[in-house]
Symmetry: C4
């Protein structure tokens, strides 16, 4: 069975295709306005804003996915299915972002948005477990492993909190989501210094 290609490259490439479609989906909704002055762009702001926001958030998810798969070594059925669950959750981001922009930050859309990120993170925890945690991985220190795990659990808790919070105060819930995502812009902040030293 030595000739079988079991590297995670194909899972990675397929995921990139899905990310590429999802990140550009909302731009299809942007239609040029009838009149040719800057004022005519104003009514487009809900779609424009939701395109920008969901672009940034999907980019953050991609960066973390990319980071995680740089540790993946083999393809297990669990890895594949966690990845499909992850991509499915991500595919709901454009839809819910647009709902938020349309409704101008109403309670139900923001709570649903936080719920989508709870899904995104639960599937990410499952991915972490398969790609980094389980294998006796020579490239991953115990410190990093523990950090990845703790970070994911905290994130799930925060997003669940944001979902509940936004049923009452949607603006506060949205702020919490944005803050939490900002912490993910660099996937490996605390260990990045060692990383740079080791590379």
């Amino acid at each position: 069975m030595a000739t079988r290609d079991t590297s995670p490259d194909r899972v990675r490439q397929f995921s990139d295709g899905v990310f590429a479609v999802l990140i550009t989906v909302l731009v299809l909704e942007l239609r040029p306005p009838r009149s040719a002055n800057f004022g005519a762009l104003l009514p487009l702001w809900p779609t424009g804003l939701s395109y920008l926001v969901s672009y940034v958030f999907i980019a953050i998810v991609w960066v973390n996915h990319h980071h995680l798969f740089s540790y993946a070594q083999g393809v297990t059925p669990r890895l594949v299915w966690s990845n499909f669950a992850h991509l499915f959750s991500v595919s709901l981001i454009p839809f819910t972002t647009q709902w938020i922009a349309d409704s101008k930050l109403a309670a139900a859309p923001v709570a649903m948005y936080a719920a989508v990120f709870v899904l995104v993170n639960i599937s990410y925890v499952a991915l972490c477990w398969e790609a980094v945690d389980r294998p006796a991985h020579q490239g991953v220190s115990d410190v990093m492993r523990r950090m990845l795990r703790m970070r994911s659990v905290i994130t799930v808790v925060i997003f669940t909190g944001a979902a509940l919070l936004s049923l009452r105060w949607p603006a506060a819930g949205m702020a919490l989501i944005c803050l939490c995502l900002a912490g993910y812009v660099r996937p490996d902040v605390p260990s990045s210094r060692d990383d740079g030293a080791a590379a």
Copy 2:
């Protein structure tokens, strides 16, 4: 002619692009509702459900495609054209799933759905034949070969049965389809233990 690149990598990458577009096609149909409460999401259930179902079924098809191509070694015209026929059949899944959800499990849509899976499986049998069966493949045992072949034939028979069944009892036909697909979640169940031992 030794310099020609005849590895199946490009066929695989192209297929992944097609799968990535198809698996996300239906999310484009999900438009945020006018009002901003959870009740407003209810009328979207046919599209939402059909997106989820066709996502899962295309994922199952991808897993099996991925499994099969891990054995492929060269590119023959027959492999390429079986693959195109396979991708074409898969591309009909979103459309028929949505028809089922719209019609709430009526007879004609479910029968058509089963017919699409008959097509998907016939082209998969052709792919198996080209990728695994024909070449004097060192990585594929005779047991596995026979199993793959038998399994595919049985699946075609079951889906044909489901198509006929659902003309009368669509719910029963649909249940048969789901059961049969569930058996494909792991593409190599019976040989997986040997697989693990050999890897």
Copy 3:
């Protein structure tokens, strides 16, 4: 400058992405009918037929593109721009196919269709020239080179003829196009025997 990656792999991968989007574009137009019986599918036949036809024709173009790029060795600006021209021409196939189906084989759409294939082939000739003809290619025999060139010129002539013919007799023009494309199902028919022997 030895570290620069000048392999045609990225051009190939980008082209595959474009092909993947184009080959599935028309399936987005297929919407499930209102009523749930097989008769309700009938009004969809123009889109369904044009999806099938443009799928098959883009598949034929892909097979030839794949065949050609298996000989490509370096990336020249001319190769890149011929490829962009080729992809642009291919991107017009879904649109024109749908026009033909909508108009039930009227003169103007069929003539335009033939004109699109003239463009596809002129850009293919340019691609051949860059990928196979120009480089002192060790893997390409003189016979094959001459054949590729002659074949392309003949095809351009036939498609131009089909465009003129269909202004009068659109059905005859369409038949000529289909015949000519059928000859491309296998990109290397005459040399395939030697190919098999050499591989």
Copy 4:
């Protein structure tokens, strides 16, 4: 940490997926006309023209992106985020091109178009800085580095000028944009001779 895959290949492949979707987005807007004569194509010219123009401009951006990434050696967070900013700016090209065509070269759309290209170029400068400038790159001469930098700064200045100019004389602004882009058809014009000699 030696086992981590830090090659820029995945960033490249993801970008290609996004480019592939963006370059074909506008073809989705081309719908066949009702009547079957060439005259019926005339009302489609704004979409047709904007598809052609944005196709060519995205192709030019891709060629430069491809050129730049052939020098990239590692993946840094800054490279990834500059790349996301670059792709985001590019994704606005189809929308603004269509607005220009719809409004028949009015002032606001052309100024906005130039502004989009200012964004595209600022993010390209950031990409250049990360991929070519910063690393102690053995494959990049000082001359080329200085040239890339100067060229980018000049381009940003010209596009900003075009944006201001087109508020008054949109046709002149558009001409300036086209001229400036024409200079990018070959990404490495001045050093291309050495390039050819070194390759």
